[in-house]
């Protein structure tokens, strides 16, 4: 009898475990061989560029540490003649003050000094033209721009040209004296080589309104220049020494910049103003001309020819913020103190404007 017992089927022989298929390695076709070859070429080029990058970075780090030689990538770019060579134009308008360093759109001396460095460091800039229309400003701010020009000239060996607009007097001229060439209109007002320290005196006004001011101080000169009282003869003498020292610095700067004897500079530096034509006659400027003449001269000095390409740092955002600032300043509380100039300061400034 056959027993057909399906409830407990006897398990049959266990099948052999499935062998996982070996990874596929199809025969390489000509397409694959080509792809493989290209990959190897790219890999070799990548390794070469890796070595080159490492070398460049190493040399740049060494140059930074030793400060002897700078890594000048322009040696490679000069293999192809550049059509981008240009003259950078930096405007210097209005009274020169330090400005607010935290606002990049401000037109103060710090921003101007930064622009000078930025433009001088650009490879395509072959000469820098300062477009000056300023009656001067505070001594510190003027000297900041002056030293920035001297540093840029020393580091980059690029020519600097000053071009005068309506007025470039006192501090405006101080800044220009660092330049290699000065171009002015025949009717430009320049000169006013000298220093001024002005302080307002509200003593009489305060007496009228019945106001009194008292200062408790540690030294007798602590409130020197106070607008609340008359200046004492001692204070006047002390301030005169300040003026004399600042004046000597101005004369030295003009003498070195214009390659003139100090005595001759002192003869011209009694604070008087000159027209452009007069300044040409007495050696304070080099050339009479307009902006185009100044650009042509800059192109010649930068060895890029006349009528050169002009670039200027013109950041739209900074211009917008500067515009907003100037518009808001009309309503702001800063306008009145600025107008009265309550804070006494030492200035290279011509007050005729």
């Amino acid at each position: 009898m056959e027993e057909n017992n399906n409830s407990n089927p006897v398990p049959g022989p266990q099948p052999a475990p499935a062998v996982s298929p070996a990874p596929a390695q199809p025969a390489a076709g000509p397409g694959q061989a080509g792809t493989g070859l290209w990959l190897k070429v790219i890999a070799v080029l990548y390794v070469i560029s890796l070595f080159a990058a490492t070398t460049v970075i190493y040399k740049a780090e060494e140059a930074k540490k030793s400060k002897e030689k700078k890594m000048d990538m322009s040696k490679f770019s000069s293999l192809v003649k550049s059509k981008k060579d240009a003259v950078a134009v930096i405007p210097l308008y209005g009274v020169i003050t330090q400005g607010n360093s935290s606002r990049s759109w401000d037109k103060g001396s710090q921003q101007v000094a930064r622009r000078i460095k930025l433009m001088a460091d650009k490879k395509e800039v072959k000469a820098i033209l300062l477009d000056i229309n300023s009656p001067g400003g505070s001594v510190g701010a003027v000297q900041e721009i002056y030293t920035a020009i001297l540093r840029a000239k020393r580091e980059t060996k690029k020519p600097f040209i000053a071009r005068f607009g309506e007025v470039s007097a006192s501090g405006g001229y101080y800044v220009a004296s660092a330049c290699d060439l000065i171009v002015a209109q025949p009717g430009t007002i320049t000169g006013s080589i000298g220093v001024i320290f002005s302080v307002s005196n509200f003593d009489g006004l305060m007496k009228k309104v019945g106001m009194k001011n008292e200062a408790i101080k540690s030294g007798k000169f602590k409130d020197i220049g106070s607008p609340m009282r008359d200046m004492t003869p001692e204070e006047r003498k002390l301030l005169q020494t300040l003026i004399d020292d600042s004046y000597a610095q101005f004369v030295t700067a003009v003498s070195e910049g214009r390659k003139m004897q100090t005595d001759k500079v002192k003869l011209l530096a009694d604070g008087r103003i000159y027209t452009g034509r007069q300044a040409l006659e007495n050696g304070l400027i080099d050339k009479v001309g307009d902006l185009q003449d100044a650009l042509d001269a800059a192109g010649d000095l930068g060895k890029i020819g006349r009528n050169p390409r002009v670039i200027s740092e013109n950041d739209p955002l900074e211009n917008f913020m500067s515009l907003i600032d100037s518009k808001l300043g009309l309503f702001g509380s800063g306008a009145m103190p600025e107008a009265l100039e309550l804070t006494p300061r030492l200035e290279y400034r011509w007050y005729g404007r």
Binding site: P23, Q25, L39, Y46, S49, A53, I57, M73
Partner: protein
């Protein structure tokens, strides 16, 4: 199989990244892709002194890249799972390594940018664009999704990050104003 052969195979048959057939060394080549891509980007940043020098600095960047891509692969996989698109986060992570080979282009482009022929941000955007394109295509291989969904999957982690940063900025501003008042 060495990485060259694996890469050749993958370039010839991209389906290998997502299919049942697994080449020997496919994962290793993916990690190697991360390595070479990170090295290219690292050298580009070193050309501009944007990153400190040294092996440790590179290892930290490499570690960050691996971690970031792990997170991206995980988040994208989560998104795909939630939207009924089956796939594998592990394969996606490996596939992303292959897209990072494109970052090696940053090295020659860095030289050209340093010579001021092109701005550096153009190099970065070009390489980033290529990597994003490659990743979109790879996501389409690993998951059965459309191009738009793949693009959305790539953008989502960044959008989430930007949202967190935005809320952080708003909170900081509110706190600062509160502090002043």
């Amino acid at each position: 199989m060495d990485s060259f052969h694996v890469l050749t195979e993958v370039l010839q048959r991209p389906a290998l990244l997502a299919g049942p057939e697994r080449l020997t060394g496919i994962n290793r080549t993916g990690i190697f892709g991360y390595f070479t891509g990170t090295l290219g980007a690292f050298m580009f940043m070193r050309l501009y002194s944007a990153i400190p020098p040294g092996v440790m600095s590179f290892m930290m960047v490499f570690g960050f890249v691996i971690a970031l891509n792990l997170l991206l692969a995980a988040v994208i996989h989560l998104f795909m799972e939630m939207t009924d698109a089956p796939g594998s986060a592990h394969r996606l992570f490996t596939a992303f390594g292959y897209s990072d080979y494109l970052l090696t282009l940053l090295l020659p482009l860095g030289f050209i940018a340093k010579l001021n022929y092109i701005p550096p941000f153009v190099c970065i955007f070009l390489c980033a664009g290529l990597v994003v394109y490659a990743r979109v295509m790879l996501i389409k291989r690993v998951y059965p999704v459309s191009v738009n969904k793949a693009l959305l999957a790539i953008a989502l982690p960044y959008a989430a990050f930007m949202t967190v940063c935005f809320f952080g900025a708003i909170y900081s501003l509110a706190w600062f104003v509160w502090l002043l008042i």
